[in-house]
Each structure stands twice: as C-alpha cells, then as structure tokens.
C-alpha cells in the first residue's frame, strides 16, 4: 500500500508540475470546466424563476440532483484521467512498460494521472452541495445524510467500474477509440432527476445504463424517497459491476500480445 501511495504521490506531483508549467492552457481548461458547471447551475436557477417545480422537485432538490451528478462525474475524472489516454498508451507501447513495473498495470494506467484542474472544479461544487444540503433542512449528521454520502461513493464506484471496462477494451481491441466519450455523453442525462425521462427511459437508466442509480438514487435517499430495496439494488449493482470490470480487465491483459514495436 505504501509503495502505491508513493508512486501515486510522485506521479501526481509530476502532473501538477506539468499543469503549472502550462499556465495559459491550464487556466483555459479550468475556466471551461467551471463555465460548464456555473452556466448549467444558472440555467436551473433561471428556470425556477418561472416554475415552482420540475417533476415534483423544488429548486433546491433539482440543484442537488445536478450537483450530485457533478460530484460523481468530476470525481471519476479526477481519479481516472489516465483512462483518456489508455488507447494511446497501448498503441505507442507505454503499456508494455507498465506491465513490467512492480505495480498493478491498471493502477499505473488509470490512477497515476491526477487531474488537479478537476480537483479545483470539485471544490466549489462541494461547497455548493453543502449549502444546498443545509437549505433542505435535513441534519448533516442524520441517517439520510449518511446514506447520501454512501450512495454517492457507491456511484463513484460504478463510474470506476465503467472506466475499468473502457481500459480493458483499449487493451483488448486497440482500435476502440473514444469509448470513454460515449460514457461521458450518455452521462449528460444524469444532470436532471430520472423522473424527467418518463417510465421507459427511467427503466433504461436504472437497469441498462445505470445513470439514475449513480445520480438520482443518492438524492432520493437524502430526501427520504428511496426504499431499502433500491438501496440494496444499488450496492449489489456496484459490487457486481466492480467484480465484472476487474475480471474483464484481467482477461484483457491475459490476451494482450503487445501492439507496438
């Protein structure tokens, strides 16, 4: 564990130095990420100047759905930024070096490119979330708040499993470009409560691509609207997906025959 922490620390320091040494680029990326959060948040607030509720949810509740989506989405990006370069790492041969290093290739491929710009974007999101949670007059030390935290962490675990699947696909096929962007694009639907999408799509977003489980369930639990049955489903799903993604990753690495010269 100490070894992994040390590697992570070294690689993250290098990531930070790389970002600091490119101030214009970093500021541009940071501003872009902040614009994306702020404009959507402003949009939701502006909408509620004209309506009282959206799919039965108040402004604070809708804002909490949006902010929870951002927490899950940004956390996954912070942790798994390296996945975005997985295909390149495989085709250019870097992955071969990861395999001979004395640490997990998955860890080396995905977790060692810590994105400080995303971490900076996450701070105001967390601050806004705490403010909204406070406004919803549910104690932050209540069971509901604890379940919200647990289900949000569970959502990050589900997002992690998708990222591991994508890493496995990159190793297995070497041709599957931009798979991660499909996940990101579909995740767009998590910005709003799943009730918005109607019964058919809700089923799809709960059982096929579980975006609702990732972004809607934590908030419903906080509002006291999620039954224990669904919570059980949520935790079982993340356990199964995590197990399956690790299995897929290992199987992909076993079949890997090196693709570069």
């Amino acid at each position: 564990m100490k070894k992994y922490l040390l590697v992570w620390w070294k690689m993250s320091s290098m990531s930070l130095m790389a970002q600091v040494s490119h101030p214009l680029g970093s500021i541009g990326f940071l501003l872009g990420k902040i614009v994306r959060v702020v404009f959507f948040f402003a949009f939701i607030i502006a909408i509620f100047r004209h309506v009282k509720s959206l799919a039965g949810y108040s402004l604070e509740e809708t804002a909490l759905f949006f902010l929870t989506f951002n927490i899950v989405d940004i956390s996954a990006q912070i942790l798994f930024r390296g996945i975005y370069n997985a295909r390149r790492a495989v085709t250019e041969g870097d992955f071969d070096f990861y395999l001979i290093q004395p640490c997990s290739a998955l860890f080396r491929l995905s977790l060692t490119t810590f994105d400080f710009l995303d971490a900076l974007t996450l701070l105001p999101v967390l601050w806004m979330t705490l403010d909204i949670l406070d406004r919803l007059s549910v104690s932050l030390f209540s069971l509901r708040a604890f379940l919200y935290l647990l289900l949000t962490l569970n959502a990050v675990a589900i997002a992690s499993s998708f990222h591991i699947f994508v890493a496995g696909l990159a190793v297995r096929t070497q041709e599957l470009e931009n798979t991660i962007w499909i996940y990101r694009d579909i995740m767009f639907m998590g910005r709003f409560p799943s009730e918005v999408y109607g019964p058919m799509f809700q089923l799809f977003l709960t059982f096929v691509i579980p975006i609702a489980v990732m972004t809607t369930f934590p908030v419903r639990a906080f509002l006291g609207l999620l039954s224990w049955k669904w919570m059980g489903y949520s935790f079982s799903l993340s356990t199964i997906l995590m197990g399956a993604s690790f299995w897929f990753w290992k199987s992909s690495v076993r079949q890997y025959t090196s693709s570069s010269s």
Binding site: I27, G28, G32, H50
Partner: protein, 264 residues
C-alpha cells in the same frame, strides 16, 4: 475553385470512411437532444407556453438545436491547433491554395455529413416519439432560416479559426480553445433558449455575435422574429461574419510571420 471542391469531396469520403468515429460523435448529440427534449417536455407538462414559446415551439427549439450544433457549431479547431503545433501547415503553405479556402472546404464536408445525420436523428425522433413539431407559417421564414444557418456556420468557422490561431504564439492554445467551445455553446443558446437568462445577461449577449449562431436562426424558423426584423438580424449577422472573417485573415497573416518550423 475546382481544387477546393476536390478537397471537399475527398474530405467527405474520409469522414464517411471513419464511420465509428462519426457514430460516436453523433451519440453525444443524441444524448444531449434526448435529455433536453425530456427536460422541456416535463417542464411544459400542463402548460400551454413557457416564456412565450408554445409547447410545439419549445420542443422544436430542442430539435433545431441538434441541427445548429451539427451545422454551425462543429469545426476543425483542434485539427488546426495540431497542424500549427506539429508544423504540418508548412506543407500547405507551399501549395498553390489559400489555407482559409482549404480549411473551409474540409469544414463544410464535415458539416454536410453531420447535417444529414442530424436530419436523420430528428426524423427518427419524430417517428418514435411523435413530438408536436412546429412548421413555419411562411416559406420566407424557411429561406431566412437557411440564410441564418449558413451565416452562423461561417461565423463560427471564423471565430474558431481565430482562437485556434493562438497556436502560432503558444503551445498552450488547447486550453483557450476548450474554454471557447464550452462558453460558446451556452452563449449561443445551444443548451437552452437565451430568453431563460436574466434580462441584463440577455442584453449583454445581444451585443455579442454569439446569439447569431444558434438562438437567432431557430427563432427565425419558429416565427418568433418578424420577417422585417429577421432581415435586419441577418444583416447584422453578415456584418459580424465579415468582421471576424477579416480578423481571422489578419490573425493568420500575423501568425505566419511568427511561425517557424524545423525538420522535414
């Protein structure tokens, strides 16, 4: 002119050749369209209008956004940054062609494919979901919309060209381009109609070229802008396009003066 036509045709074939990339590009657009379609549908449940948009107008705005995103807001900014940074533009500079014309030909080919894909997606949505679709009341609105669509496409091309040209002076132009692409989607009304925003923000944006990229063309189609006013707005859009067209040529020439490349 013939060489640009050839470049257009070759690029068209190239875009169609990379079908998996195209499908992935389109999937993103479909997810955004479906998400916003359901959002507005839910919001308008039990209402006849919202901010002056009728039910059919608002849902048509969402579908229209897909067309505008595909035809006006797609570009080759990242390719241009890559070509300048890697020195690949050197090979274009020695050829008997204008880089602006060449880039425009490639840009148009990409937009042609995305426009057809957008029409296909909207057609599928109309067939499967039967949303109330708004048809313009006069044929003139359709022509004005087509004019606004073409102008918006050119305007975005020049704006993106200017931002991407930063690569002549810095290797970090990716950051500003990323910011530009995200900011413009909100400022142009590519996620929601600008009427939703507070009045002072609407006024600030109306002084910029951004609403002419998405918000105005769709409003012309929806007949929310009178024909006289639409002509006037189209004229302003032309002026913005001319101003940014001239600026992009100026920036390009200045950039070439500071451009250097080694190796073969």
């Amino acid at each position: 002119m013939k060489k640009y036509w050839r470049a257009y045709l070759i690029s068209l074939q190239e875009t169609l050749q990379r079908r998996s990339s195209l499908v992935m590009d389109r999937l993103g657009g479909i997810a955004v369209m479906l998400s916003l379609y359901y959002f507005w549908k839910t919001l308008l449940l039990g209402r006849t209008s919202f901010l002056g948009y009728s039910y059919s107008q608002m849902l048509t705005y969402v579908l229209g956004m897909n067309i505008l995103r595909s035809f006006a807001l797609t570009g080759r900014g990242w390719e241009l940054v890559g070509e300048i940074s890697s020195g690949k533009i050197s090979s274009y500079l020695v050829r008997p062609l204008s880089y602006h014309g060449y880039a425009l030909a490639l840009d148009l080919s990409q937009k042609t494919v995305h426009l057809f894909a957008a029409f296909f997606e909207i057609g599928a949505l109309l067939i499967f979901f039967h949303p109330p679709f708004y048809w313009p009341k006069s044929i003139l609105s359709l022509f004005l919309f087509a004019g606004a669509l073409l102008t918006a496409s050119l305007l975005f091309f020049f704006l993106e060209f200017i931002v991407s040209s930063l690569a002549f002076w810095t290797s970090e132009s990716g950051g500003p381009l990323f910011f530009f692409e995200l900011f413009i989607q909100f400022a142009a009304g590519a996620f929601f109609p600008l009427d939703v925003l507070p009045r002072f923000l609407q006024k600030v944006l109306s002084l910029s070229p951004f609403p002419y990229l998405v918000f105005l063309p769709i409003n012309i189609y929806l007949g929310r802008v009178g024909e006289g006013r639409a002509f006037q707005d189209l004229l302003i859009s032309f002026v913005w396009t001319a101003v940014f067209g001239a600026t992009s040529v100026y920036v390009w020439r200045k950039g070439l003066l500071s451009y250097s490349a080694e190796g073969g």
